[in-house]
Symmetry: C2
Subunit: 472 residues, 2 copies
């Protein structure tokens, strides 16, 4: 059935080989209308004429017209012939959306793991085993808090590894940290009109944006060598605070024991909520990780963990353990914006934790990241002794303080860009330009793929040489 | 290292076999504090005494105390001894959350597919192939709209199967229909203060709850044999309408051609948004599916599809194609509540669509559901001729209208419950008790697992006999 010039003068191009004749006629007429070649109220050929033109049975054309008429593309009244319906105008062609991702060859952006190390076969194997056992009911609509068996596994895991005290019923599975913060923030915002959330300064701008979107006002709490200066909360009226107690993001310090006690006391005195972002606590190299703050006060701390650093951010799986009296509110918030989480990832992660494969992967990655850190430290100690490195006990990033009279952080990141290296400053994470911290850059040494890490370090060293930080 | 009575009189139960001696000491002290056996300011034994008691090196106890001190559980000053820190009180044990899911043996709840038919091996195979090819970068944080290759496949699929005209850049991947509705609603609510969304009456109560949570006011539009009576929108001031044009949920009628044209014209005249819920359009049995409304007007229609009926609701994957000028707003709303979607499911679905496995599965299920429908229709025609069945051209449910003078819908569902059968009424889906529709029940014949379908039908027939609908 080739393309023909129809009796109505409309070139009804009927593409070959896509469906039967009726489908091809329908498609051609739809296309002619949407492309603007057939305009509203334009006459279509009679079914008899078109059938003859195309060499098909007339009933085929009648069926096609009936379908198009039912869909509202065309209208036909006996006697007046068939015409293109009003409202079937050509819509403007969509403009291409621009993508603003700039990716450099060597990426030391903090807060990212080596995504090339995602355990593909481990994940597949876990999913295969889980699918062999799972009852059909897991594929139905489920509990908005997440798959019960995953919550069991996560509760046991965070108890074992982080000293958190979590009942599975109080966990809500989330799409990573972002959704967990949004849920906690929306619970606070729904409870108190005009409520405010305190956040660390510096912190991730992305987290400030998510918190602000919940309707909460934001209050900064500055950071020093003992972590967030939580005593600034006194009299602030904040309804809650987001903290990174294990490893301040991005400075790298731990919240001191006395401040831990103080902030829990403050939360109990004022009825406030502490949201604990335990984002990279699995990676602590020289001593045991500090236990989760939540373990001391499950009644006032919402504990958030994810697999974004242990497996990969793209998995988008995390959890928030809410204080018992706020679980239902968090579940209701999740329900209100889309409900339950996809079950396939939950089945796979459940099985990975249960089988021990998750722990083994974390251990393997901990060794790898420790090796990377040690190489970085050694290189900087030997070749750039003027910089001071801290925040290295844990996590996937180091804080590199620049010497007095040396280059500014911005000069370093510009020099890095010229060598196709991504580096970030602490200043970027401050709420205001004047941060009050010594001028520093952050080296996210977890980010490069394993096979380019040494080369990435050489590019970093070359950058440091360009700005006069390398000794001869 | 057995349990010992320490010199301080505290029974420091140190469990066997969990970690090294230091970990066991730490765990025992944490547990003693959280259980209330060690109260704030209680004295702990000296490191020397405890080491002797437990038969471990003193340095082990010193290390354990240092860790607990850093975590804020205990405080120790030289000379004054070590005590339990303030604020380390025992938190109340979590109450068990109650589950209110009641599940019956034979489930005819509408809007659900046969979840036992989820293609486990097809999904696994698709994920395996996708993981073999995918670059490491897919596991990083990604585009909030979803994996670009999935958006390519979905855009092509909905064009091919539903006549939708979708550019991949205008798609946002979502957690099923719920999140898509929430995003569209939040976009409308953010644009216009006090905006209202029109919705069909009857419709799913769950969808009303999600729409209301966005802050939109809700306006009912009633339904008759031609679908939603969209002319009720005239002068309503609604900023948008949610429609089920292909197969009204739950009545089963299609939106007529003239109403399709009218509502598109209304949307263009008033700047309103039409949200098209194309929830089960893949399952149309007797003729070609009606093309998507969006295909005629991508500039004013947001098109929503999911895999909830084709694969299973538990997968929680769907998509919304936004009009070009609203895409960025929808992406920003998704970013604000948690961001990007998990990439593993997206990789698997991309590969399933690309390979044709998705289409083959849909075809197989269409045949199965058509078979179920035919058996249901035949049974009702033979045994319960007084009921009138409609809404059967498509979808996974039938509307069963009860005869005048016969049982009420509530009497039928009560009789069903007594036989362990789940049945639902149209009344439940109405906004107000007085619906104005003939008394009817809905039979979701997609829901039972394949191997119990015949038995489920027998239970349904027995129910109908109980209420006098079966002829002798």
């Amino acid at each position: 059935m080739p393309s023909r010039q129809t009796t109505s003068g409309v070139d009804l191009l009927v593409p070959e080989g896509t469906g039967g004749p009726r489908q091809r006629i329908e498609g051609a007429i739809r296309e002619a209308i949407t492309s603007g070649r057939l305009t509203p109220r334009a006459a279509l050929p009679s079914t008899r004429a078109l059938a003859r033109d195309l060499g098909v049975a007339r009933s085929t054309v009648v069926d096609a017209y009936a379908q198009l008429s039912a869909e509202g593309w065309i209208t036909g009244a006996r006697g007046s012939g068939t015409t293109v319906a009003d409202g079937s105008e050509h819509a403007p062609p969509p403009p291409p959306a621009t993508s603003d991702v700039t990716s450099r060859r060597f990426d030391f952006t903090p807060g990212r793991p080596d995504v090339s190390a995602f355990p593909r076969s481990g994940w597949l194997g876990a999913l295969r085993r889980a699918l062999r056992e799972a009852p059909g009911a897991v594929f139905d609509y489920g509990d908005v808090r997440g798959h019960p068996e995953l919550r069991d596994q996560v509760a046991a895991y965070v108890g074992r590894v982080r000293g958190a005290r979590v009942h599975p019923d109080h966990l809500v599975i989330t799409a990573g940290f972002g959704e967990a913060l949004s849920l906690a923030g929306r619970v606070l915002a729904a409870t108190t009109r005009g409520a405010q959330l305190a956040m660390e300064d510096p912190c991730l701008a992305h987290h400030r944006a998510i918190a602000a979107a919940t309707g909460l006002g934001l209050v900064p709490v500055t950071v020093d060598g003992e972590g967030a200066r939580v005593e600034q909360l006194e009299g602030s009226g904040a309804a809650g605070i987001l903290l990174t107690p294990a490893h301040q993001q991005p400075i790298g310090v731990s919240l001191s024991a006395s401040r831990r006690g103080w902030v829990l006391d403050w939360a109990r005195r004022t009825g406030a909520l502490v949201v604990e972002d335990d984002y990279d606590s699995e990676f602590r190299f020289d001593r045991s990780p500090l236990g989760a703050l939540q373990g001391r006060a499950p009644d006032v701390v919402a504990y958030v963990g994810t697999v974004s650093k242990t497996l990969a951010p793209g998995v988008r799986l995390g959890w928030i353990a809410m204080p018992p009296d706020l679980v239902d509110a968090a579940a209701a918030q999740k329900e209100a914006t889309g409900g339950q989480h996809g079950v396939l990832d939950q089945l796979a992660l459940t099985e990975m934790i249960r089988s021990g494969a998750y722990d083994r992967h974390v251990r393997r990655m901990r060794l790898r990241y420790r090796g990377r850190r040690d190489v970085l430290l050694q290189m900087l100690a030997e070749r750039a002794p003027a910089v001071q490195v801290s925040g290295i006990e844990a996590g996937l990033q180091a804080l590199v303080e620049l010497p007095e009279g040396g280059p500014t952080p911005e000069e370093v990141t510009a020099a890095a860009a010229a060598r196709d290296v991504s580096l970030h400053t602490v200043t970027e994470h401050h709420w205001h330009v004047e941060g009050g911290m010594p001028p520093s850059i952050i080296v996210g040494y977890g980010t490069p793929a394993e096979h380019v890490y040494r080369e990435a370090l050489q590019a970093l060293l070359a950058t440091f040489r360009d700005v006069g930080l390398v000794v001869a």
